[in-house]
Amino acid sequence: MTALDVPAQVEGEQGPVSGLALVPRGPQEQKPADYRSDQEVRWCPGCGDYIILSTVQSMLPALGLQKENLVFVSGIGCSSRFPYYLDTYGMHSIHGRAPAIATGLAVARPDLSVWVITGDGDALSIGGNHLIHALRRNVNITILLFNNRVYGLTKGQYSPTSNQGMVTKSSPLGAPDAPFNPVSLALGAEASFVARALDSDRKGLAEVLVQAAEHRGAALVEIYQNCPIFNNGAFDILKAPGSERHLVKLTPGEPVGLGELDDQGRHSHLVVREGGRLRVATRSEADPGQVLIHDPGDPDPTTAFALSRLSAQDLSHVVTGVFRAVSRPAYDDDVRRQGENASKASPPDLEDLIFDGDVWSVPSPRGARA
């Protein structure tokens, strides 16, 4: 399949349309190894990027696509080397601009599953503008934001997600910047799909990635990624024993809870609504009527936003899973639909276009008046 004979449009089905609706499905069985390229992987030993790569390679067969219809576009950073290691089409572009490039590709080619690989510096510093606009427009792309809270590739300067006060080579007296919360930012930018996952949680990450790929429109997945060289252990609190007290895993339709499980499989703590806010309460003190039941499809992003801020930078209560998944028109579908409707209304004809308007011939019959 080439650019010239791509399928037409997502026809007006009811309900959410898959992000992959126009991408040809492959008949053959695939194995994770099929997605491995011939390039030697060159991250530092122990880098969280390895496990994310292997999780992605393991989940891609589940999408049932053909390898040639996947494209990974990245910016610049350690994480942005990712496309080289996948046997799909890919572009390792320039710092911060991957969402812009992916937008053009997605508009031109509805038959591709287009992914963006980016880092916290790439997406939120130099590329912040492109990221928010891709989300606002709801371009049908899947964005994986590898957040290690540091600039890895340039050897350890603080990033827009670093802790305030973080000591690095560029901030020997502590970083003066206040950080972004990427999930809050995405929700504020009108994102229709926002999720968060941990590099070490292969199962949780894989689940979120499948949903993100299947989402029609822009999907942002923030992945907490460990950089053992420049920000080692930044997320250890979420991986060490006792982490269940800090980790909230969202399940649609279920109460939002955390902490140890009792013998009935119920969390020790619950998230409750209180005075227009969310709060973590013990099961015994929680008013059952106020316990938050997760609804990623809520058209109003307010609750998702509150969830994204259950704790600040300190990771005391980190929410993972899908915050928001709502259906709204994808930008690229609309752009193409305008073109198709225009073509139907007036089939393209170069001759008509050029010989349009006040056209005259020489020798001109009208000129003869002179």
Binding site: V71, H92, I101, T103, G104, L350
Partner: protein, 617 residues
């Protein structure tokens, strides 16, 4: 009443930006086209959308030059100026040729309006216009009197004044009237009363000319003997947009335009947005970096990625153009140059982005550069730029400018089946010469050095490209010193080897001419006109005009060497002259102007003579 036959006339309409000067200028142009004259136009807008009324800053004008022979420029100086208010007179009177005609509305010359325009005394009575023939026509009052029967409000009625003025001019030059009336009926189809009022005002202006004894003569400018063909009146930006659509058509590629609005390039977006049926997909991005990124992403997907901008935007796009150089993907970058640096003169013209286009990127980052020479030529130049982009898998910068963008002329419409075939020839089979059955994206065509281009979706040819240096052939990342040396030279060689037409020289007497005028871009018209005038005075000079700025034509050095001196006129401080000197030319005279205005043929004529005499002395 006498009717005098003349060969050409230059008319300028000037008024407040809300006075509808562009509209009547455009209609007057349409009349000349319908009549069969050759013509060229030059609109001039203030940078502010609605500058304070009645001030010199708010003056907008439209100049039309029409003739019975072929002409090349919108004219140096107006023979007739219609000035709707004192500010318009003040801003334009000094341009009018000696003995020229000025038409003004005396009712507008109130104390308040004179003060707003910055006049200390009334120019209608202080003798400052003694060298001109001034006709005072109470256009406002006459228009009000005419349209009052329709019951329009005073403000709306007065808005038809511009059509009254057009009526006078139409009478004076025996212009066809139906084209104007038809246009008004169509434009105001939803407001029949307004259409009616405008038509009445237009006819009243005509009748005023017919009945008053104010004007001693009428003029006739016979139709021009243009080359046989079908014509249409076109502006540079419109022609450029149509060239892009045509490039999509003949390449069989979808056009994807990524752009961000900027004067004077926005009209290309506006025009392309009307042709989504081709399909032309337009993306109004959040900034120029995103715009060029989207275009490049579309190119990666096998579409014809196009981005349009002006100088400040080109600066923002430079990093992505560098990526396109490295990734060796087609990308059409249109820069409609305006006065710089910084915001500079956004609505004026200049050619000062040449070196930015050539070298404004980091690293050795060669791209092809093409420049159209007239508004209609923008169509062919866009096609040529697309041909190079697709054939050689390279970014191409198309350097238009404000004068071409908004200027207009008759366009001899192309014969469609003679347009070039620029289909991209995508790879469909693995090409690795080692027989491994894989695809090597940097294997090249022996002749063009263009790399194999496999678009996503092609089974078995999956590969990754990007900004890191590529190993020759395989396209894998390579940090090898010898490979980098090889690749830098190869990219340069690919651009240098683009096949471009030889430079044509118009030389009236090749055996004796010693001076060549070598121009590029929008200076074509004034240079050619100046050369004609010199030839008519018995001073033959040759003219050659560069369309391909990178690579330059193969015979260029030989052409330059043929002449004793080569004058290079440019609307910058000598950027082309610098490039030519870099090729070793030692007989160059750089002639430059940076007023934000196009060259005037008369000024060039004088300057060329001076340079020739200076050189001879």
């Amino acid at each position: 009443m006498n009717t005098e036959q003349i060969d050409r006339i230059v008319v300028r309409f000037a008024g407040d930006s809300g006075d509808g000067m562009q509209l009547v200028g455009d209609r007057f142009t349409g009349q000349a086209a319908a009549f069969g004259n050759d013509l060229a136009t030059f609109p001039s807008y203030p940078a502010e959308i609605r500058a304070p009324q009645g001030t010199v800053h708010g003056v907008s004008s439209f100049q039309v030059h029409f003739a019975s022979s072929d002409i090349l420029t919108p004219g140096d100086a107006p023979d007739v100026l219609v000035a709707m208010n004192p500010a318009a007179l003040r801003a334009n009177a000094s341009d009018v040729s000696v003995g020229g005609v000025v038409i003004v509305d005396p009712d507008e010359f109130t104390k308040r309006n004179l003060a707003k325009a910055g006049y200390a005394s009334d120019p209608l009575s202080d003798g400052s216009l003694a060298h001109l023939t001034v006709h005072q026509v109470t256009m406002g009052a006459l228009t009000l009197g005419t349209v009052s029967e329709l019951g329009l409000g005073r403000k709306e009625a007065l808005r038809c004044r511009n059509l009254f003025a057009l009526g006078i001019l139409s009478w004076m030059y025996g212009r066809p009237t139906e084209v104007v009336e038809d246009y008004l009926r169509e434009k105001f189809a939803k407001k029949p009363l307004v259409a009616e009022a405008n038509i009445l005002a237009f006819r009243a202006g005509w009748n005023f000319g017919e009945t008053t004894e104010m004007f001693a003569v009428r003029y006739e400018v016979p139709a021009a003997a243009l080359a046989e063909g079908t014509y249409r009146h076109v502006s540079g930006n419109a022609a450029l947009a149509l060239g892009i659509v045509a490039a999509g058509w003949v390449s069989g590629m979808k056009v994807v335009l990524g752009t961000y609005p900027i004067t004077p390039a926005s009209d290309i977006l506006h025009e392309l947005a009307k042709h989504k049926n081709f399909p032309v997909l337009t993306i109004q991005a959040e900034d120029e970096i995103s715009a060029v990124g989207a275009a490049l992403g579309a190119s990666f997907g096998g579409a014809l990625g196009v981005t349009t901008t002006s100088g400040p935007g080109l600066a923002l796009k430079s990093e992505t153009i560098g990526l396109a150089v490295m990734a060796e993907l087609p990308l059409l970058v249109v820069d409609v140059q305006r006065g710089g640096p910084s915001t500079g003169l956004p609505t004026k013209t200049e050619q000062a982005d040449l070196l930015q286009a050539m070298f404004g990127r980091h690293g050795e980052s060669p791209v092809a550069v093409v420049a159209p020479s007239t508004p209609a030529d923008c169509f062919d130049a866009a096609l040529e730029a697309a041909r190079i982009a697709v054939t050689y898998r390279t970014p191409v910068i198309l350097l238009s400018d404000g004068a071409l963008a908004n200027g207009a002329e008759p366009w001899r419409l192309p014969v469609l089946n003679e347009l070039p075939d620029i289909r991209p020839d995508f790879s469909t089979e693995p090409n690795a010469p080692d027989g491994s059955g894989t695809h090597w994206p940097y294997v090249r065509d022996d002749e063009t050095l263009a790399r194999a281009w496999a678009v996503p979706g092609t089974p078995g040819l999956q590969h990754r490209i990007g900004g890191l240096e590529k190993a020759a052939d395989t396209g894998a990342i390579s940090y090898d010193p010898a490979n980098h040396e090889h690749m830098v030279r190869l990219r340069q060689q690919k651009i240098a080897g683009i096949s471009v037409a030889d430079l044509d020289v118009h030389d009236p007497s090749p055996a004796t001419t010693q001076t060549l005028i070598l121009g590029w871009g929008s200076t074509y018209g004034p240079i050619q006109e100046a050369c004609r005038r010199l030839a008519a005075r018995g001073v033959p000079v040759a003219h050659a005009h560069l369309r391909h700025l990178n690579p330059m034509p193969a015979n260029l050095d030989e052409v330059i060497a043929r002449y004793e001196r080569v004058i290079v006129p440019e609307m910058n401080l000598g950027q082309m002259a610098l490039l030519l000197r870099g090729r070793g030319a030692t007989n160059l005279i750089s002639h430059t102007q940076v007023t934000g205005q196009p060259f005037k043929a008369g000024d060039l004529e004088v300057a060329f003579l001076a340079h020739m005499e200076g050189a001879a002395a």
